[in-house]
């Protein structure tokens, strides 16, 4: 029992430290550069891609963060943006579904590539799969939940 508690405390500190050193810089960089032209053109280019799974320009930034760094960090930006303005439940659903299927594209994939997995399948196939699952589930959810704002 004592060692379980010890593992919990040490593990929690490790987790907190890891989240802290990623989340705070992400938020600062977002705040400093969100309004700048290069940042906006990156987000806009990304928005043109994720438009195909039903995401709008406002959802592009949190989706990009999640896609690159991980679900928890993308989720953090989603929570921040929900706090600032209404993203719409439909958009949050689409983002969550897409990011559930593919996130932390570099870090997570590299771990398995190091183990001998094929990069083509674990990156390329997973992105295609994510898009298909997102489109299918959004279509189903739209039928079920009629009151969603676009």
């Amino acid at each position: 029992m004592a060692d379980l508690l010890r593992t919990f405390v040490m593990g929690s500190l490790d987790l907190l430290l890891r989240v802290f050193v990623i989340v705070v810089p992400i938020m600062v960089v977002l705040e400093l550069f969100e309004g700048t032209r290069p940042f906006r053109s990156v987000v806009r280019a990304w928005a043109r891609v994720v438009r195909h799974v039903g995401l709008n320009e406002r959802s592009a930034a949190p989706t990009l963060i999640g896609f690159l760094f991980g679900l928890a960090y993308g989720g953090g930006v989603i929570v921040r943006d929900i706090r600032r303005h209404d993203l719409g439940r439909r958009q949050v659903f689409i983002m969550s579904t897409f990011l559930s299927m593919v996130h932390a594209i570099a870090e997570d994939s590299l771990v398995f590539i190091a183990l001998g997995a094929s990069a083509f399948w674990i990156v390329g196939f997973r992105i295609v799969w994510a898009a298909l699952v997102t489109l299918a589930l959004t279509a189903v959810a739209t039928l079920v939940v009629r009151r969603w704002k676009a």
Binding site: G11, V19, V23, A61, A72, T97, G116, A117, I122
Partner: protein, 184 residues
């Protein structure tokens, strides 16, 4: 991301000095008070830095609040032997993915714990390149379900439903990939 949809030349409200009246124009989208008209570059930097640090700390706290209890639950489940128990249950399913029954262990380790733990337990197995790839797809889609599910829950989604989705869609993706890789 306040004014993404608008004219790119109006980078942010502060860029254009307001009309004659110095009254701050409330920003419709963000709840923040509108900045003073045309502050210097340094002042704007300091303001954005302050907002960024505040948003970072707030988000850190919100993530920590849901991740730490989920992590505690994860440790308890691991201690109770839930991972081995789930792996026993999932063993027969592995054949559908072209994997040996033992592959259920890293899969369940990934679901309950995380990717790194799953990779660790994968190294104990003797898998072909295709099997490594197929198992990797299932684990990459579904892992750390409690902690990440807690974050989605915080974003207003059903964390349990998304956990189930990641398991089911991850296994389906692995099965489809196994089939397709067999063809090529």
């Amino acid at each position: 991301m306040e004014h993404l949809g608008e004219d790119p030349t109006s980078a942010r409200p502060a860029a254009t000095p307001g009309p004659a009246s110095a009254a701050p124009v409330p920003s419709a989208l963000s709840g923040e008070p509108s900045p003073q008209p045309a502050p210097g570059l340094g002042a704007r930097f300091r303001r954005d830095l302050r907002i960024g640090v505040k948003a970072g700390l707030q988000t850190f706290w919100e993530l920590a609040r849901v991740m730490i209890p989920a992590y505690g639950l994860t440790l308890v489940l691991e201690r109770l032997g839930v991972i081995q128990w789930l792996a026993q249950l999932a063993r027969p399913l592995m054949a559908l993915l072209g994997l040996p029954g033992d592959a259920a262990v890293p899969l369940m380790v990934g679901y309950v714990l995380n990717i790194y733990a799953a990779v660790g337990s994968m190294q104990a197995l003797d898998l072909s390149a295709q099997q490594v790839t197929v198992l990797a797809i299932a684990i990459l889609i579904g892992h750390n379900l409690l902690v990440e599910g807690a974050v989605l829950h915080r974003a207003g989604m059903n964390g349990f439903a998304f956990g189930a989705l990641r398991v089911v869609a991850g296994l389906a993706a692995a099965a489809v990939a196994d089939l397709l890789m067999g063809l090529f």
